[in-house]
Amino acid sequence: MDPNLLTTTRAVDPVFMFIFGISLVLLVGITATMVGFVIRYRRSRSPEPTSQAAGNIWLEIVWTALPTIIVMAMFYYGWAGYLALRNVPKDALEVTATARMWSWTFTYANGKTSPKLYVPVGKPVLVNLVSTDVLHGFYIPAFRVKRDVVPGMKNHVWFMADKPGPYDLFCSVYCGTGHSAMITTVEAVSEAEFQTWLAGREEGEKGTGRGRELLEKNGCLGCHSLDGTRKVGPTFKGIWGRNVTVVTGGAERTATVDVAYLKRSLREPAADVVTGYPPVMPPYPALSDKEIGDIVDFLKELK
């Protein structure tokens, strides 16, 4: 880790301190003066005004010039801090973040994809931002970085974690029903751990396999949980063979979850909408029959 490299957090926080500090002094000054005048010149104590002064040119000059100097200083520091957010260090690790309604996928140089953003501690990371549908926002509060993810536009952001740990990553631009569920974590780990993770497949947790990988890659898990919790869409836990009440063309009917049902749900999600859930799922026409088969195999196992 280069000790001279300024993290984004350390570039931004002094600007906060500077502006908040001056603002606090101004606010306390204004309020104290106002309250002081009200107490001193209240009508019971000061029944008649003792001045009819309608202005003072010198005072006006002073309190025009002073704020001008103060805000120009704030402008300058704000701009300088912003430049630090924009100057990406040369040796930064490149990752592509793909945002869709309502999940994130991170793709690394070796083709590995992950729903969480794994990064090595002490190494700058450059994230290229791609949206497949509407506007999203890439926001990591701990690193003070945020950038909109705009369809058809190349945006990027960089940051560096200087301590290991999980950090929240939010979608900051409103994107519909699942906006507040479009959150994941940045996992900052040691360089060695990161390399092991990057080289390996998923850790051997239950449900590893092609089907699960496809669900993650396509962002399905942003709306459908694997553990039974209710998200934007129905959970996948125990979905195989379940009887569900769906609305088809305005009428309710009962359907059994089988291969045909799942295929139809992926290709024409609006055709059958499970009651109690919003009709918001986008279609996934690019999934091949083989891939859908892998997903089905995975879902069959998910009791």
């Binding site: 101004l26 000061s46 001045s51 009819q52 002064a53 003072n56 704020p67 704000g78 630090a84």
Partner: protein, 541 residues
């Protein structure tokens, strides 16, 4: 209540001197005072609707996860809250209600320059409002885009965006017409001796606002038409796969919607500049500088829209320029605050309800303005943009600023038009409750934003729970104060103590005519011989 309470206002007042009867004497009246009251009750009705929606938002956010509604309902709720508060309450609010009620009298005129156009403007406003309300219950249901209607989401969503946007388009025309009417009135209908240097500061603020309405609102109209074209015709103007650009939409939207913030706040500053001298019995300090700063805010405020887009992917050069201009606009606001506070020096200050609202305006607006500096600085904006910090900030400016000024104006001017007043003590208690509740509600939001909670979030992580609960409790205290304010004020206007022509000792012209004002305002055209805050010149003890 005593029987005498129900005696009608004196003959010759605008309440009973009319050719028509019943409801038609209101909805077809071209009297600026009647139109002012029509506007007042319309905008205030929508304000109360917006308040209810806001309280529901806070109940949902009281705890993480589902509290009372699902995500789709929540998204519609914050969208409709924003649309109603922005387009149906605060943009038309001051101009339509107190602008109409007071401005022609303050300049010594019989009415506005185009009384029929004035009525038409209210009708357009109501038509737009009805269309917006219709959009909530028809088609794909209430819009769920946020009041900003950002593309491409607003093009894709199945909710009733097109109709809602059309309603806002119509309301925009009402705003333009009012602007034209007021500019013409202030130029052409000032009484003899009412020089530009003797205009009350409320009139000056309406004048600056009217120019913003005339020049900026057409951009909103065009932008909204483009959204409809995108949705209905699929023109692809904002769609990158067809050569369009989503950022272009954001520029167009904010070219209007940032100046719109000044449409909301400038008249409020005017109200404050009128109230403070009266309750301090001293001329306003720095009249010319306050006028100048209103015009400077209107002009410079039209050039800062890009500060809503620092994270959008807009070029760094654009960010440099917009950040710089944003800081420039802070200067005239600071000048006003210093002048208001200086007006208090060596005065004789009476802390009645309008003055309490005015003084709390100074504090709340200062907090709103100073937190705006965080948002104007490029580095710090990146962290807090699109978080609850922004939500807290603009509620400090628009509710703590414009809203509190509106309540101040209600207590200051409505008794003049009703001839009766509210009780003082409950008004002070209501103010105190609202002030305390307000700060708990919105200060918590700003801290939440600094901690990283994004805005427009239906659900949130457990770490944000305590402050969200605090904020919700604040909303109840604020609501309790508001209920007390309403009951006390409107009960007082019907049954309260009678007031004379000049209950507060004001030197502007509205206090020189009978209470309630006659239909013709002035028995004969007045000749103005003193400034608006020259209490000695007006012969006020």
């Amino acid at each position: 209540m005593e029987p005498t309470d129900l005696t009608p206002p004196p003959a010759g007042s605008f309440w009973n001197d009319t050719g028509r009867s019943g409801i038609t004497s209101w909805i077809f009246s071209t009297d600026h005072k009647r139109i002012g009251l029509l506007y007042f009750y319309s905008v205030f009705g929508f304000f109360l609707v917006g308040v209810l929606l806001g309280l529901l938002i806070r109940i949902e956010l009281m705890a993480p996860g589902r509290t009372i509604m699902g995500p789709q309902a929540y998204n519609a709720l914050f969208t409709v809250h924003g649309v109603v508060m922005v387009f149906l309450f605060i943009i038309p609010g001051f101009q339509g209600s107190f602008g109409n009620l007071v401005m022609p009298i303050q300049i010594g005129a019989r009415d506005v320059a185009f009384p029929r156009l004035n009525l038409f403007s209210w009708w357009l406003y109501m038509a737009g409002a009805v269309i917006i309300l219709t959009s909530l219950f028809t088609g794909g249901g209430p819009p769920d885009t946020g009041w900003t209607f950002y593309v491409p989401f607003s093009e894709r969503t199945g909710t009733n965006v097109s109709l809602a946007v059309f309603g806002v388009f119509i309301v925009g025309f009402s705003s333009i017409i009012t602007g034209v009417n007021f500019v013409t009135t202030i130029h052409r209908l000032r009484a003899e001796g009412m020089t530009w240097g003797r205009l009350p500061l409320f009139v000056w603020s309406l004048y600056a606002t009217a120019w913003v309405q005339i020049l900026a609102t057409p951009i909103l109209g065009i932008t909204l038409v483009l959204i409809m074209a995108e949705r209905i015709l699929g023109t692809g103007l904002f769609d990158p796969s067809r050569g369009g650009d989503p950022l272009m939409y954001q520029h167009l939207f904010w070219i209007y919607s940032h100046p719109a913030v000044y449409i909301m706040i400038l008249p409020a500053m005017g109200v404050i500049s009128d109230i403070i001298p009266v309750f301090a019995r001293k001329p306003i300090f720095g009249y010319r500088m306050i006028v100048f700063s209103s015009l400077a805010i209107a002009a410079a405020g039209s050039l800062v829209w890009g500060h809503h887009m620092f994270t959008s992917g807009m070029s760094d050069i654009a960010i440099l320029v917009f950040s710089f201009l944003t800081f420039i606009v802070a200067i005239p606001s600071a000048i006003k605050v210093f002048n208001w506070v200086s007006t208090l020096y060596r005065g004789s200050i009476s802390l009645e309800a309008p003055m309490l609202f005015a003084l709390s305006f100074i504090l709340l607006f200062s907090i709103g303005g100073l937190t705006g500096l965080i948002l104007g600085a490029a580095a710090t904006d990146i962290h807090v943009h699109d978080t609850h910090f922004v939500v807290g900030h603009f509620h400090y400016v628009i509710f703590g600023g414009s809203g509190f000024a509106f309540f101040g104006a209600m207590h200051y001017w409505l008794p003049k038009f009703y001839g009766r007043r509210y009780a003082e003590k409950p008004a002070v208690i209501a103010w105190a409750l609202m002030f305390v509740g307000f700060n708990i509600l919105y200060f918590s939001m700003m801290v939440l934003g600094l901690k990283g909670m994004p805005r427009r979030y239906y659900d949130y992580l457990p770490e944000f729970a305590p402050l969200n609960l605090t904020s919700t409790i604040g909303s109840w205290i604020l609501a309790a104060g508001l209920v007390l304010l309403l009951v006390n004020l409107f009960r007082g206007l019907r049954h309260g103590e009678r007031v004379g022509s000049n209950p507060w000792g004001g030197a502007t012209l509205e206090w020189s005519i009978p209470t309630p004002p006659p239909t013709e305002n002035f028995a004969e055209e007045p000749v103005v011989t003193h400034g608006p805050y020259d209490f000695r010149g007006a012969g006020i003890p």
